[in-house]
Symmetry: C2
Subunit: 275 residues, 2 copies
């Protein structure tokens, strides 16, 4: 496995995922806006490049894990990126963005005869290290088949195929992150109420995660909230606010009502303002 992969975006998830690829034997050309983030990868043999286009090999595979829609579009639209990826090339887009951004970018890739594969990631950075990420994918069938070993090597313990229509994998990611935000905020409301009524929130979450909610989300957030019901469950991360916002936007585009997402968005915004 000495194939060279382009890798753009070395954030909290990008870095451990790229490290997994190196460990699995892939060669990497890496780009990141803040070049110093690449140090550990370079020490392990990755080649650091200074423009997105330099990470791209014609007919090859380039992976992007960047913060938002604007960052993703600016990479794709950067000088020579698509021309260089060219016929047979595959862009594996792993950022959480609007499904409509994915669809728009997929069409632009098709114009250049290259494939756009959506592969979003469920899992915290620790899960990448532990090779226990879950990855929904969508895009052209042959391109998905070609990148599947790569997704496994990145740390994907489960890869879920949502068909050829791009947009589905980002939508599933938004649905999942909305449900996580809803569960986390509901847990905080419930455990605070238990504590103020003199009932130990640890005993409550202990029972509930053995019975009704034996799920990683309830276990991890429940434990954290039970230890400090006053702290906002997600205060250390801007991701829930951003992704609940994308969920709302995507729902509103199809006139699907979002009473809970709208409330969550406001609550998360208040958390952020207080942080």
């Amino acid at each position: 496995m000495s194939e060279t992969i382009g890798f753009i975006g070395l954030g909290q998830l990008g870095l451990p995922v790229a490290t997994n690829l190196l460990t699995a034997g892939y060669a990497l050309r890496v780009y990141n806006r803040t070049a110093s983030k690449a140090e550990s990868l370079v020490a392990q043999g990755a080649q650091l490049v200074t423009r997105p286009v330099d990470a791209v090999m014609t007919g090859g595979i380039v992976v992007t894990i960047v913060w938002d829609d604007a960052a993703l579009e600016s990479v794709v639209m950067s000088d020579g990126f698509l021309e260089h990826l060219g016929p047979g090339g595959i862009h594996v887009a792993m950022s959480t963005v609007l499904p409509e951004t994915s669809k728009k970018l997929a069409a632009i890739h098709a114009h250049h005869d290259c494939a756009y594969v959506e592969a979003t990631i469920f899992g915290r950075p620790e899960a990448a290290v532990a090779h226990s990420l879950w990855i929904p994918v969508a895009g052209p069938q042959r391109a998905k088949e070609r990148v599947r070993p790569l997704l496994s090597a990145m740390g994907g313990q489960g890869i879920f195929d949502f068909g050829e229509e791009v947009g589905a994998a980002t939508l599933v990611k938004l649905v999942g992150n909305f449900l996580i935000a809803s569960a986390g905020r509901s847990l905080r409301e419930a455990l605070s109420m238990a504590e103020k009524n003199g009932v130990d929130p640890k005993a409550v979450i202990d029972m509930l995660t053995q019975t009704l909610f034996p799920a990683p989300i309830y276990q991890s957030y429940g434990k954290r909230i039970a230890e400090n019901t006053k702290a906002a469950p997600f205060s250390q991360s801007k991701i829930p606010l951003k992704d609940v916002g994308l969920f709302k936007t995507t729902a509103q585009q199809v006139e699907s009502p979002t009473p809970i997402a709208s409330l969550l968005y406001d609550l998360l915004r208040s958390d952020e303002a207080r942080a």
Copy 2:
């Protein structure tokens, strides 16, 4: 095991739970406002009585599973109920009521030298039949020990002790039912949005319940909602509206904020108005 137990309340959960007790070899004196509900139990040897007090044996155990606080109070305050239960008697109160109602009733029982044990039930009627109920309990230690075999015979696969202070087991029930309502309504919002965006809600829930949310609540409600995203997830039941209302009241008594419970209450009330 030929001990005779008083059993009051033969609703959707009361009936299968009482049936389990008969099957386990207990003798029952049953009371229900609508006497005809007792027919199957009488056919299996239960004795039907016409007043709550007639189900009570001095020093014995009487179980109540009734709809709400008012129904529970009217049983406890009915003529001779507490006098007849008397010293050494135990009232196993399984209804979902306000913790403050439980505390008030526990104090009244103590005045009559009998014990009030809270034992609330998580599980649908099918779970009672399958002996897979989860039962949080609170109350005097010795009384809890005496009723534990009875709770197992009722169909309790797990019994969770929340200490001697009555109120804790009803509070845990309210917390659980609030979290169920929140998860169910959030699932509906999310799966409707997926469907309107052309993504199959069955595929979405299939992935999420294999990964982030491998919990019975998400599996059962998710499946039901994915089959019909337009139907209200709980339209067939008045329980979520009632219990989210009790959750709100209990939180407000200790000035614990309930943004999500308040929204859920309004949403569930709209569902009911439309049903």
